[in-house]
Symmetry: D3
Subunit: 265 residues, 6 copies
């Protein structure tokens, strides 16, 4: 598996440091969708992975994200540096200024310490790949927002570089998922209950006076979808005796009348 990070892949240039923007950059250093989160999520999924081909993919991208951590950390550090000396700059992130001496730490823009609670690792390869596709989409939009709030050309270049790579990874993870050849809604081994799986529970109504809709779309009409209005099956409570009869799960709607179940056209 042998990681290689021979050299950093990007030259960081910052024209004029801006502490408040440096603080924002921390979202991608120690934040929920940042580079450490990506690096750890993919590398640990890789460590747990028995599919050697996709394990290599997870390790490759995990390793690349780790190098991105260094890039974005360097960028942030350059923007945060004035905090070391200037009181007004320090107010942009007192934790970095007072406890960190103006250097970066594994915090987000609001000073929250990075936590592994950000990670999504299940040990089920196709599930993990879906988590990764979503993670890359999130990282992409975050970089886009940072670019939108940035004036420094060098910083924008670096962010464009990093943002681009997230799309690359998104493509790679998607290809890896598709190459598994699984049905997109087949997760694990136990099949869902037929019938129940195609019921859409309409738990909200459309009576609002300013545009709320009781919407219909491909997510609840067409194909096998059946809309079930405000499911009303009762639930039993724990019996006093502590003993209850085990009976077959009654899927919602099974015993419902016509008014409640509407077959989509």
């Amino acid at each position: 598996m042998y990681h290689h990070i021979k050299k950093l892949m990007y030259t960081v240039n910052v024209g004029s440091p801006e502490p408040r923007f440096g603080n924002m950059l921390l979202e991608q250093f120690g934040g929920a969708n940042g580079e450490l989160a990506a690096a750890m999520q993919y590398s640990i999924q890789g460590l747990n992975c028995d599919d050697l081909d996709r394990k290599d993919l997870l390790m490759d991208i995990g390793t690349e994200e780790l190098s991105h951590l260094e890039i974005v950390g360097t960028l942030a550090r350059m923007h945060l540096k004035p905090m070391k000396k200037h009181r007004e700059s320090a107010e942009a992130d007192p934790l970095i200024a007072i406890a960190g001496g103006g250097g970066v730490g594994l915090f987000n823009s609001m000073g929250d310490a990075w936590t592994a609670d950000y990670l999504k690792i299940t040990g089920e390869l196709d599930v993990d790949l879906r988590s990764n596709i979503a993670a890359e989409a999130r990282a992409k939009i975050v970089y886009e927002r940072l670019i939108g709030f940035c004036d420094d050309p060098g910083t924008k270049d670096a962010l464009q570089f990093l943002m681009t790579r997230e799309i690359t990874h998104m493509k790679a993870f998607t290809a890896a998922l598709e190459s598994l050849g699984k049905d997109p809604f087949s997760i694990g081994n136990i099949p869902p209950t037929a019938g129940l799986v195609d019921e859409y529970f309409n738990d909200s109504t459309g009576a609002g006076d300013e545009g709320e809709r009781d919407a219909r779309g491909p997510w609840n009409e067409g194909g096998k979808w059946r809309v079930v209005e405000s499911p009303e099956l009762q639930r039993g409570v724990e019996g006093q005796s502590g003993k209850t009869t085990a009976r077959t799960a009654k899927p919602v709607g099974e015993d419902t009348g016509k008014t409640r179940v509407k077959k989509s056209a």
Copy 2:
């Protein structure tokens, strides 16, 4: 938007309570991929959503997940109840036994308090839908594992019901995402850097003696993919002067020789 949870949708039956399994069930009550996480993720995405049709979808499913929280909480409580009296049962989860009096709390199976750090909410609809698809896949596999460790028929029925609904939601979110009609790799507004976006950085090598591979697959060959071996572009460091020249981002590989860049067939 007007949520309706007129009644709970499922009758919970537990034959013989088993505290250690009740402890495991907490993963879906107060755990990272559990029902509160799902309910909050979708409802708050819905609260932030300007697309009224898909907002209704997010609210419908968020509301349903909240009712699932009650189902799984009831299940867990029934299994945990012996903790109230029996010391040996209490050892399965002392936090529930001592601090909670045998009742459920928003903790996972290891006693970690539920945290909003579990949630993925970006305010970008297609990105949020991808996060939701992944979240449903994770919840599905977790229910499957719980079923695998469970002997009680009534509990298994309930878990099968809940597991099935996750697939339903996965289908609905997928349909909603596809109905947006966006290119799957187009996130936000700023396009990625052409060329760079198609480069696969091969950050690991295949020289291991026990099967590690330097793998090739649709995630790095075919289409536009170019494999870049162990990227070695240098990075500049912050100049002493604090001033740096802003120059155009040089995508990795641009100036590399043939030995390092390999066009995929």
Copy 3:
């Protein structure tokens, strides 16, 4: 128990959005004394409750608080919206701006993710009701402070509505506690040690030169109170042998002379 949230109970109107105030509002969305904390505390207490009457009360109020979460979230979102576009607004809460795209998330005003550590759930009904009375008092004062920092009439109206409801709940919980008919200082089943329970340990002295007092009041004089000055009973340390003699707990003050024990008049 069948929750009903047919419709939201309040119309939210915001005149001019103010991001820094929107940030403050997050205290009641994802903060320690906020609406999610209230909703979860009461609902889960209700889930664990065997007293069906008071369970209904807990569920009613838990459900109402959940609808308040939507109200305060809508308010906050309206105030935070400028963050989406404007850099200066974004600086008021970079986490919301960069990671959340200007939408609300389950964070407090300082960006801390909501945690179930905020909740007080013991599975002992009268104890839980006391926790709820205190929780409502805290929520009330927080709303009052928000009103004090707010200029927008529509927002103030909504906050007044929400603040009022906290008093309603405080009254209901108090009535429910009193209706249990328990002695206010009788908690659980094991009685406290007589004598010791009436001793007030005076662990601080009144020799300060700027007003510190060694105060007396109904909390340490009158009734059965006995003031014990700076308790000095020694404590044993763990014996080298690892074995110690079990002896009856000697309540502090039992063997103390007159100078240390002062019967309150």
Copy 4:
């Protein structure tokens, strides 16, 4: 304010150490309702308090709780000590055994690090006193449960001592609250909205088939209470224009018909 903890107030005796019970004891050392939480909550409230008499009370009890932290820590350490050497004991709390060398740390029974999120400190004296009354009630019930799971007489004695003191404190805080002479439902300065404050929103229904009730009691009938059935006032959504008309808050129920509002007898 000058704290005095001249000597510990209780002699700890442990007959035979029991690591799994030592683990449970950590709930009162580093847990949510434990002695550090109490000590910090009261001391910091005291630090913020301008009422010098009750500040003395807060400091006295805060100081006493700190001495209890030492008692319960000593107890726990004695029970946990076998973890140092014995693998089976170590399995009862691997964090204490491996990272802590068998000594206590500020964790609860499930290894969660103590967090200030447990504390309730508002800087409003009467509110803080209510939080403290509830905190003492919780601590009392937790000690009672520990006693219920304990066989060692010396340990039980110590727990009885500590449990008793919680009732003492509960009495003192209650007396201090009452001595303020405030109306029990008057919090802060802004009065609640008349009328609305007396409405009980009945957000759940009584149609369950196994005993769920739509309960009535002193918390929603008698006095000024009015029960409002399933509130259905609509809420506006944010206008497209971003501008909304500020209008007076319409309390729920104001415009409802007779079927929905039921004056309690």
Copy 5:
């Protein structure tokens, strides 16, 4: 062990309160290197300590740090007080202003709740003393930075007092460590593997073009040091059979050729 904090040891004087500086001061109240962290780390180490002399030291300094918590809390409170009334002040720390009513809480400057994760307690006396020496050095530099950002003479005086005491403690802990008479690199009982312990793995290279060095210094040359260039021993992967042969650990470099191992002169 009998703590004594008869009186606070320092008179706090604040000329003109400055809320943003008050916010910074919270780093030493509820922050990672603050006074509560110090007080708890030393006191709990002391509680676990069997060396009665050094236990007394740990308790003495732990107790002193607790009194410092009160000093720094009083300082912070005085600077934060304007938050109670003034909206602009409140924006410096909305959590303190809205939830805390302008009083201090156990948070750092970015609103993060204090957590026992800050503590380093191992139950191994010499190891704990090393952690304490480092902790005091950190606290010293944090006080120095606060002084650097402070204009108020009274506050600076107090900070100078507190900063000085950290050096005192650093000296005391160092003397206590040295008085144990242990070899500085002998930790616990199991000796490190000879040979391997003197190898310096050079995991980075010096080929950068802007000053990166592949540095040599007393940390990798002289004495017994051997520099091992980019260690390349292979690692086995888990066998398919699940069974692996246990063989003796082969220290890195053992089987490497001359080009990779360079004996320092």
Copy 6:
């Protein structure tokens, strides 16, 4: 700086997997003193470091620790694998079993998610080196304890390898600190207050009846040490006027009489 992790440095062999020991191993994977903590602490200190020689050292060791993360993760995974299938194994760590599918995650042995709160990074090189020396000492003792609870020879070999490297690092950091040539008690730039810095505050007394000592040792006698008994200087409280006179800090003991200040022989 160019990290190189060409290959993993150690071959992991596990004879018979033991899930409960795998759970213990997580202390060094996702625990407070584990390999990720070490890797991140040193690498980020390195990122912030302007001393290029010691920056190289920090990066070298940070990189090595990252490879150790992979080693210990592989070890843990091999021991945890039975959790995937066997219910009894799963009970050793339900979080790993149910949510992680038997694979490792960034948790400690009690399921706590890794947090950057474990890290000590100040941006002051000599202070950081002290934190690192202490960190290595902690990691060493933790490995020793794991070895003590382990029966599998292959696992013990790997742990011995990892444990040895911690001593190597401890030596390297110590040499780097000494090579700075600073006085050991000179931290930062502001000198401590003369006189006050040499006072030892004796905040506990020696009157216990079971061995507590009011100890003397090189940490409070000899050299310049002066023991100050139970410091009793008064502290002022905040004046009503909010204004106070700034006066020079009066070090404790300055104005005390002879009975309280005892010059050490």
